[in-house]
């Protein structure tokens, strides 16, 4: 490698850039994907700065009118553009603050899901034999243990906080990318350049990570993105059932409060922001993901 000239490094860098561009360009040509991407950018912005720009403290401060009485279950007004909750809190502020835990669980859960799935799939598909058999049976096991019931069970005994919740989610979701990546690795391992890498004396680790892994990276990225959406959905569902982190305001918890308090009958303004927030983010991930899938799946891209 040390004898490589500057020129070849430059060509390699350029081809990496070309590769990146070709893998990102689809966002601009596919309208749904572009819309989804825009929403995701907005969501990340909310996750980063939401709590800062919230006009009220989402939990402690109550919204009051000019006379100083607390506004409970008040429809949207100037003081509270998204209305208020049954406890007189500002829905708009809760919505802004609730984006952050949603973003954290989504990102960490997604990356963990994609990461574990990538490693398991890579090792399983590359080595085959009993390694493959063991790992795939483990995958089967996590498939057969129902996620939601098991998560609820665990969370009745363990005080939920967002890290525990993220951990449980990743522990159940890695199976999805693992299976897909394994089958991709299987077909990549058959290719000549992988065999020749082995023949020229490259070790298993090197062959696996340098020669096989790049071929399955796009799929791994895709499933990491899906993992983000799944984590967000799972976290919101758990929070809705009352198994969320009780110390933070998340979108799922807002929905639990409006449902459990019975205010859902009247207070549509309390339901719509968190409900559409979650729906918009998960849908956007899949819209972008689907468009990307067509880029990396030549069978569908044929036309």
């Amino acid at each position: 490698m040390s004898t490589e000239s500057a020129d070849s490094i430059r060509t390699r860098a350029r081809s990496t850039v070309d590769w990146l561009v070709s893998h990102v360009q689809f966002v601009t040509t596919d309208t749904p994907a572009l819309a989804g991407f825009t929403i995701l950018v907005g969501f990340v912005f909310l996750g980063l700065f939401g709590p800062v720009i919230a006009p009220y403290d989402p939990i402690r401060a109550s919204v009051q009118n000019a006379q100083g009485t607390i506004l409970r279950l008040h429809p949207p007004t100037l003081r509270a553009p998204f209305g208020t909750t049954a406890y007189g809190k500002d829905v708009f502020s809760q919505f802004l603050a609730g984006a952050r835990p949603t973003l954290i669980v989504g990102l960490v859960g997604g990356v963990a899901t994609g990461g574990i799935g990538f490693l398991v799939g890579l090792v399983s598909g590359y080595f085959g034999g009993w390694v493959d058999e063991t790992l795939m049976r483990l995958t089967d096991l996590t498939f057969s243990l129902p996620f939601m019931p098991m998560a609820l069970l665990l969370l009745t005994f363990i005080q939920p906080n967002i890290w525990i919740i993220t951990l449980i989610i990743a522990a159940f979701l890695w199976k999805m990318p693992a299976r897909v990546i394994r089958s991709e690795v299987l077909s990549a391992s058959e290719r000549t350049f992988v065999k020749s890498a082995r023949a020229s004396g490259a070790g298993h680790l090197r062959t696996m990570f340098v020669h096989v892994a790049p071929n399955v990276l796009p799929i791994a990225f895709l499933y990491t993105a899906y993992g983000v959406a799944w984590s967000i959905a799972a976290q919101a569902s758990l929070a809705f059932l009352g198994f969320g982190d009780p110390t933070t305001t998340s979108w799922g918890r807002m929905l639990r409060q409006v449902f459990a308090s019975g205010s859902i009958r009247v207070a549509w303004w309390w339901v719509i922001p968190p409900a559409l927030g979650i729906a918009a983010v998960t849908t956007s991930v899949f819209l972008v993901g689907r468009a990307y899938e067509e880029v990396i799946n030549p069978e569908i891209d044929d036309q």
């Binding site: 493959d132 795939m136 498939f143 939601m148 098991m150 919101a236 809705f240």
Partner: protein, 329 residues
Amino acid sequence: MSQFQRFLAKRIAIAAGLTLVAVSVIFFTLRLLPGSPFTQLVASGNLSEQQVNDIMALYGLNQPLLDQYVIYLKNLVTFQFGYSIRQSRPVWEILGPKLFNTLILLVPALVTTAVLSTLLGMYAGWNRGSWLETGSIVTTTFLRSTPVFITALLVIIVFSYNLELFPAFGMREITASPSGFTDTYLSLDFAYHYILPFTVAVLYYSGDFLLLARNGIIEKKGSEFLKLHRAKGLTETEQLMRAGRNSLLPVLTYFALRLGMIFQGLILLEVVFGWPGIGRQLVTSISQQDFPVVQAAVFLMALAVIVMNLVADVMSAYFDPSVSAGGGS
């Protein structure tokens, strides 16, 4: 043994092994986590020590963990799930009707959506690039990626609380106390309560079938056999039907897998609509720490997934000659 038989035997053995491991995981998760099933009962302070010991003995909880495990396994083989702690009734007496309520809601929903969405997906794939394709993809992407309780909440707000067209809660009027099957499930009252949760379930399941069917058609579209059919002078619809028939296997396999997942119910859908199914019962039992019920419910859910997984595997090996039955999974 033929190759297929060997494949079948291997898959069945794996399924049996998986069931055993899953059952054990469920059992030990419930026992090793802190808090005995009776902690709450004892903590309430109304029981003497003698009474507590009696109850523990009644449920076999005073025996060593390993003995309990063996008894538990023996009972499962004969589908005996023991007694509920909260209701002092056999667990199956509680779970059976709930499971039935779940199935009567979700099986028709799954079948409906499998047929409708597959047809729509095939049509969308055939007309690639049309507004119908884009529209149906965006819509179903929204429906399948949004957590089901959110769709349910939105539907309830619109159709129950604002338009006041359908009831938001339960399977029947609160005052109704029907007796017998016909009264419970074939009444207008039931149908009236059925419509909203049924619709949400249909919408929620639609996305995957639509995409599978669409992708299947797109992959087949350029293939040789279709050129032949076109050359033969078949109409567009006839060609589409033939392409569809050849891309149905993934849809069928997926249907089998989904059918296995149905035993878990759509827990959140049942909670939102107050539907008395197995998922809602599980949530209730977990919060009441009624472990025999929880254990049995989770076991049934796991078993259904394992069995349907087996069916899906065998089906695709049997129908698809390009899947090698000799190779692993």
